[in-house]
Subunit: 122 residues, 4 copies
């Protein structure tokens, strides 16, 4: 047993998978929002965001899609924009001892908000 | 029912409280790490961090303590340092329909890591 | 002379004031973009941002205005939004040995961009 | 002339190069500090940081070195650490109409501080 397991004895394995996925989703959003990005750099930043967040405990995989259509419509002089929540579609796959959760974030039109929610858990 | 409740139908009320608390803890860390701080400004930044994170869904209260001893030992010419994980002790109190979770982050000496964990859930 | 003055011997005093003001403006934007904010918390976060950035070298004062009109129009379920560049009007007053620069950032409609520029220097 | 040149009429071309380089250095630090990183992900995050910051106005090139020795000494259970200022050595090359500035940031032992300074200007 890892030395830190004792800090999680109050919750089930399934809850642990949800917990760790949620931590990573909150972290990802607030770490990278504001980063300059355009169509030429988007592949690299997506990959770096993915790799950084896959380091966190219990994270099997992170899938990040930055909206290319929005990048294609940049209208300012500077040919890039700051990464914002409405451009992101993210899935975080977390697992703890056989229990798996998929945490999703995407911009929900009816909410006008980049909602973080639980898409799958098993 | 709020229009976004449908996004959480796969999880229990207790799991929802854990989920929302974890999101907020991950967000808090990655939003504010790096902020310049010293003994004179610490009260204000603690309060602003607390108020910002209490806006998030299901968050009843956030308690943040930035280590004053570490601020008292600043040895550089500039009389401030960048906020880092080893200076923080945070409790996030989240609640969803009667279920409550306390998510904690503090620097654990034996782990040499600012661990985020579940301190209480009921 | 402070021990770090040798690192600036290539530039004039006026250039030093511009340099330090610009550092602080870039820092401020990328530290705080993404922070949750609404009409109730805006005063506290403005003050904390100001105090944090006034700690940096050569910074006399920072004035920050977050657009209240935009906060008043929040339409989502959650009653807050993420701080973004188009909501900010910032002045950084930097000074080095009698030379003063005012660095400004505001959203420029014709550029569709939160431009950082030099508003005054003397 | 770009439509935004009028915002810089108070400063010389040389000062403009210094200004833009300084903005980018402050931005880079505060955007990425806190990002999870280890020896396996360091190449990708360095590249993404570089590409993001090369998008900013007047920036010709950004060179970033994250200290591999520090990554090799990670002692916690989790096999990664949060990116911090003492791990970074950065050069930002900015240019405006024939004037060039090299802005440097590195951790200075005698200052115990990641100093941002002007390394070259011509």
């Amino acid at each position: 047993m890892n030395v830190y397991e004792k800090y999680f004895k109050l919750i089930s394995k399934r809850e642990r998978a949800i917990f760790e996925g949620a931590i990573t989703m909150g972290a990802l959003f607030h770490q990278f929002i504001g980063t300059p990005v355009n169509s030429k750099t988007v592949d690299g930043i997506e990959k770096a965001m993915k790799e950084a967040m896959e380091l966190q405990p219990c994270i099997n995989e992170v899938k990040i899609i930055i909206n290319r259509e929005m990048l294609g419509q940049i209208k300012n002089e500077f040919q890039y924009i700051s990464l914002s929540g409405d451009m992101l579609d993210i899935k975080v796959f977390s697992e703890y001892e056989g229990h798996m959760a998929v945490i999703r974030m995407k911009f929900i039109e009816e909410l006008q908000y980049p909602l973080m929610y639980v898409e799958e858990v098993k």
